[in-house]
């Protein structure tokens, strides 16, 4: 497979007057987990729907697994696994029935289908619940079944749209584990999420989308570094030494606002210089009670790019 799993050039989608996706370029490398991060209504789902052939682009080109999403939709559909957040599972059917149906939809028949269904049920831990109707499943179980459905034909690229929205922390961890395992086995994953932590935990590379445009792209570490120096906060054992400490710290970065009895600087060069700071303070006889280094978070990256915060932002339905 030489073609890149996902390539988009100048992708645009308009809904009447609204330009939901406003010229997006994307390249996803084989074998990576690509995190597509943005608030509700930013254009994430619209982009994914175009990539999985559910929506026609107004302009631009997209190729998935080497196939054009408009000209070769069937070849694209054969190559991808899709778990969309807003695509419900029929509650009247059992897990096994749904998996079998999905296998048939992908042109798998007879023994292959049976074998694959059994493997996947075991893989996502639903063997015991396989013959129960999906209506009786918990949210976490549904999401795991959804994942199994997307994997029935061993897709080249797996599209996961908000895979853990609404899940409790334990179920979320289980889904993350499964996504990591899949990725280790070679599946390329295109993950959309509004959770910073999820992107941080899973994605090797992320793109931040806001207002239909990509505002940042890169690996999370580099993006955070680009935002600026981490904040070093120092709490002294003895307030008498405050002036000395301030003088020492001034040599490592600019002062930042801190609570009373503490000092804070933007540590130039980041964590690598932490040891030097501690040594210098020690040489001047400053006793430190508490010391912490706050790296910029993806939320800081988002704020830097858009001037807004993503975390705690109101979750309005897109």
């Amino acid at each position: 497979m030489t073609a890149k799993p996902v390539v988009a050039e100048g992708l645009v989608r308009e809904f009447g007057e609204l330009r939901a996706v406003d010229g997006i370029d994307l390249e996803v490398e084989a074998g990576e987990i690509f995190g597509f991060l943005g608030p509700n209504g930013a254009g994430k789902s619209t982009t994914v729907r175009m990539l999985v052939t559910l929506l026609r682009p107004t302009a631009g080109v997209a190729r998935v697994a080497g196939f054009d999403v408009v000209k070769e939709p069937t070849a694209v559909r054969r190559s991808i696994g899709v778990a969309l957040q807003d695509a419900a599972i029929d509650p009247l059917m059992t897990g096994t029935e749904l998996l079998r149906l999905q296998a048939i939809l992908h042109g798998l028949g007879g023994k292959v289908a049976d074998q694959r269904c059994g493997e996947l049920l075991e893989r996502v831990g639903l063997t015991a619940a396989a013959d129960r109707r999906v209506g009786t499943y918990s949210g976490g179980m549904r999401r795991r079944l959804d994942l199994a459905l997307a994997l029935i034909h061993r897709p080249v690229v797996l599209f996961l749209d908000e895979p853990t929205t609404g899940l409790d922390p334990t179920s979320r961890q289980a889904v993350w584990e499964e996504v990591r395992t899949l990725n280790d086995e070679g599946t390329t994953v295109f993950l959309t999420t509004q959770y910073l932590e999820e992107a941080d935990q899973l994605a090797g590379r992320i793109a931040i989308i806001d207002g239909g445009r990509i505002v940042r792209e890169g690996d999370p570490g580099t993006l955070k570094d680009q935002v600026g120096d981490p904040t070093l906060r120092v709490e002294l054992s003895d307030a008498v030494m405050a002036d000395t400490a301030a003088r020492v710290l001034a040599g490592f970065g600019d002062e930042r606002p801190a609570r009373a009895g503490r000092l804070a600087i933007g540590l130039r060069g980041g964590a690598a210089h932490l040891a030097e700071v501690v040594r210098a303070l020690d040489e001047q006889g400053v006793a430190v009670a508490h010391l912490e280094l706050d790296s910029p978070s993806l939320d800081d990256v988002f704020a830097d790019a858009t001037g807004r915060r993503l975390e705690g932002a109101e979750a309005d339905s897109a």
Partner: protein
């Protein structure tokens, strides 16, 4: 798990499997949800019981066809009523799939496009067959047999299946155009009105004025009358042929409409 596409299998066989699987799903959904099939049995039976009691003596009116009982007279109408319930369900189930996103799940797979529509129609056909058999048995137990015997009963099942398909076509059209289960259910009373302005519950010969004129050209009358002949008089190839031909004509119209709506929905995405 390495990313490997499974080898392609013969296309026709795959399409057949997909269509069958989606038909099975539609049928299963109806069977597992009593709210889907129970009204289609209870309502026609209650109506039949009320009418049979109310109009028991109407059969002695001049111009009323020769029948054993009023109950026997309205057997085809009861089946038609039951089927109209079910066919509305075929539409609203499709609309529900669209609303919940299951439809997206289906079309984001490489499934043959026609299978999705044909599967729903197949589901409607299966429940129409079930409904007609159950109603005929119940009517038989209450002393209203099909005069043309087993052959006639089989003919009635065939006509019922075609009717189920024809009516499902209208429901599917509304479902695919609107994507709304409520809108699809809302067209159900229209079918009911059409049934009432027909010979379904009374012979057109005994009607008057505009009502009679409308009822006489109502396709439902033209389908019900020959079907009723099979029930109250006896076997006739001509009656069977008329009922089947007219039902197929209606089905061609409704299925064309729903197919166009389906293509429009696929293209609008």
């Amino acid at each position: 798990m390495t990313a490997a596409l499974d080898p392609p299998r013969p296309h026709l066989r795959v399409v057949a499997e997909q269509t069958w699987a989606l038909t099975a799903r539609a049928t299963l959904a109806t069977a597992r949800n009593p709210a889907n099939w129970l009204p289609g049995l209870i309502f026609p039976l209650v109506m039949a019981a009320v009418y049979a009691a109310q109009f028991a003596d109407a059969t002695r009116l001049p111009d009323f066809p020769e029948v054993d009982s009023f109950l026997q007279f309205i057997l085809p109408s009861a089946i038609l009523q039951g089927i109209s319930f079910n066919s509305a369900n075929a539409g609203s189930d499709m609309a529900t799939d669209i609303e919940t996103g299951f439809f997206d799940r289906l079309i984001s797979s490489p499934v043959a496009r026609q299978s999705i529509l044909v599967g729903r129609i197949g589901g409607a056909a299966a429940s129409a067959a079930f409904q007609s058999v159950v109603l005929m048995v119940v009517f038989l137990l209450f002393g209203a047999p099909v005069k043309s015997g087993l052959v006639g009963a089989v003919a009635l099942v065939i006509i019922s299946v075609l009717l189920g398909v024809a009516l499902a076509g209208f429901g599917l059209m509304v479902a695919l155009r609107t994507g709304s289960p409520e809108a699809t259910q809302a067209m159900f009373p229209l079918i009911f009105v059409a049934i009432f302005v027909s010979s379904a519950f009374f012979p057109t010969e005994l009607m008057k004025g505009w009502y009679q004129q409308v009822a006489q050209v109502n396709p439902i009358t033209l389908i019900i009358n020959p079907t009723r002949e099979l029930v109250i008089t006896g076997w006739s190839w001509a009656d069977f042929a008329q009922a089947v031909t007219l039902t197929i004509l209606v089905a061609v119209v409704s299925l064309s409409l729903s197919y166009r709506a389906y293509l429009a929905r696929l293209a609008s995405s």
